[in-house]
Symmetry: C2
Subunit: 256 residues, 2 copies
């Protein structure tokens, strides 16, 4: 028992989401599972942390099983920080985040609570991956996700990942038999073209909903969006050293 | 008049903060200034966006001056998106964020609303920088910031910045005469060692405040933290392509 790896499971859709339930079941086969996940949906929270308000955590039993579960009032990144520093008996051997209800490929990483939780675990020195299914419905079918989640998590437990890197895994909305395999990719150079939906409230005050179209102008066949469109699971190695080292020497030539 | 550059000014401390007031005054000397900033403090919001709630904006007159000002109910990234897509007459020639009350060097970029606003402007193709003063008090003295903000903003208006890069500028808490100059740096490899402050509320329920120590184990003299400790303004070029391109070939050797 004591030799089982310790696995932290989190997400951004909240502790009751179907995606994290599937992930917990899969991780229960691999190690001792601790769940620390948001009370409520935290989609789009990026790498936000709670510094001007308090946090609380509650012990939960959502499903039967060997896992130990806590909900946290904060963001996905808060969940990882409080798990590692307050709740878990020791530093986990692996952190998995998801399975997100909805795609987190390309530049969506930067807005994604799912991926920010995985990145935070990476910053804390823990092998880590975020998993997302390209289906945002609450009752999405996660059967096509299981094989990839299993094989990638097993490799991460073998400490295969270079320091400073976490994995962004996206899974097409397909049945297991239709998924062609796993592709290691770069994130596609795509972006949101916003289209704010302007409305008036019952008192006549204007307000907005953030909407938009996600436009992929990247024709490369080595991108995550290409892989997903062609029914492959995409795996993008993600770094969190944000220094653009290659342009330092150019900027040094400026007369500042 | 029509040839004046259009400058978007935002921050994460909120539209009433002293730091953004100083930044607006400086930018008024360089172009036509539009301010779109959060109603309230959004420190630590990282790259969060508002997707499960509505947004509103209000025309404001906080100080006299030629600038046009709006507050927005959302995050710093929401401010940039709604400014560019709904409020400004055209795409701005420059976006400046700050001046933040408090340091945003090293890995703090990832949690910083100030820098996330600058990064979002970069994603939208706008030359952009975040400015932070190493003094988090509400009445911080921004005199030491003015020269660096001016010279860096002028260079950005000349389209000096390579595509996919924005600048993270930190300014030491010093009088102008004591600042030795500007250093182009990499972000130091430092991180937070969290120390959650656990308390009980009047009803006996436990809650936490997120606190911690920021530990710099990076001995390099080419880092932003070294520059700041030695009374230089630090300028770090920041990229937002999060693919770790250099490890793709290694991960392709895994048997997935």
């Amino acid at each position: 028992m004591d030799n089982k790896p310790l696995i932290l499971v989190t997400n951004d859709d909240g502790i009751h989401a179907e995606g994290i339930r599937v992930l917990i079941e899969l991780m229960n086969q691999m190690g001792e599972v601790w769940v620390v996940a948001p009370e409520n949906s935290q989609s789009g929270m990026g790498h936000a942390i709670t510094i001007n308000a308090t946090l609380h955590v509650d012990r939960r039993i959502v499903n039967n099983g060997p896992q130990i579960e806590y909900s946290c009032s904060g963001t996905p990144v808060d969940c990882v920080k409080i798990a590692i520093n307050e709740l878990l008996p020791k530093k986990p051997d692996l952190c998995v985040s998801g399975i997100n209800h909805g795609q987190n490929a390309s530049t969506n990483i930067i807005y994604s609570g799912t991926m920010s939780a995985a990145v935070e675990a990476g910053i804390q020195g823990i092998p880590s991956a975020g998993f997302s299914l390209c289906d945002s419905s609450w009752n999405a079918d996660f059967q096509g996700s299981q094989s990839a989640v299993n094989s990638i998590s097993k490799l991460l437990l073998q400490n295969k990942l270079p320091l400073g890197v976490v994995l962004n895994v996206n899974i097409p909305k397909s049945q297991p038999k239709d998924i062609k395999g796993i592709k290691i990719c770069r994130g596609a150079d795509a972006s949101w073209h916003e289209n704010f939906d302007k409305r008036k409230n019952p008192q006549g005050r204007e307000y907005y909903w953030l909407t938009g179209d996600f436009i992929n102008q990247d024709r490369g066949k080595d991108t995550d969006l290409w892989a997903l469109e062609n029914n492959y699971v995409s795996v993008v190695p993600v770094h969190y050293d944000l220094t653009a080292h290659d342009v330092i020497s150019e900027i040094k030539t400026w007369s500042l």
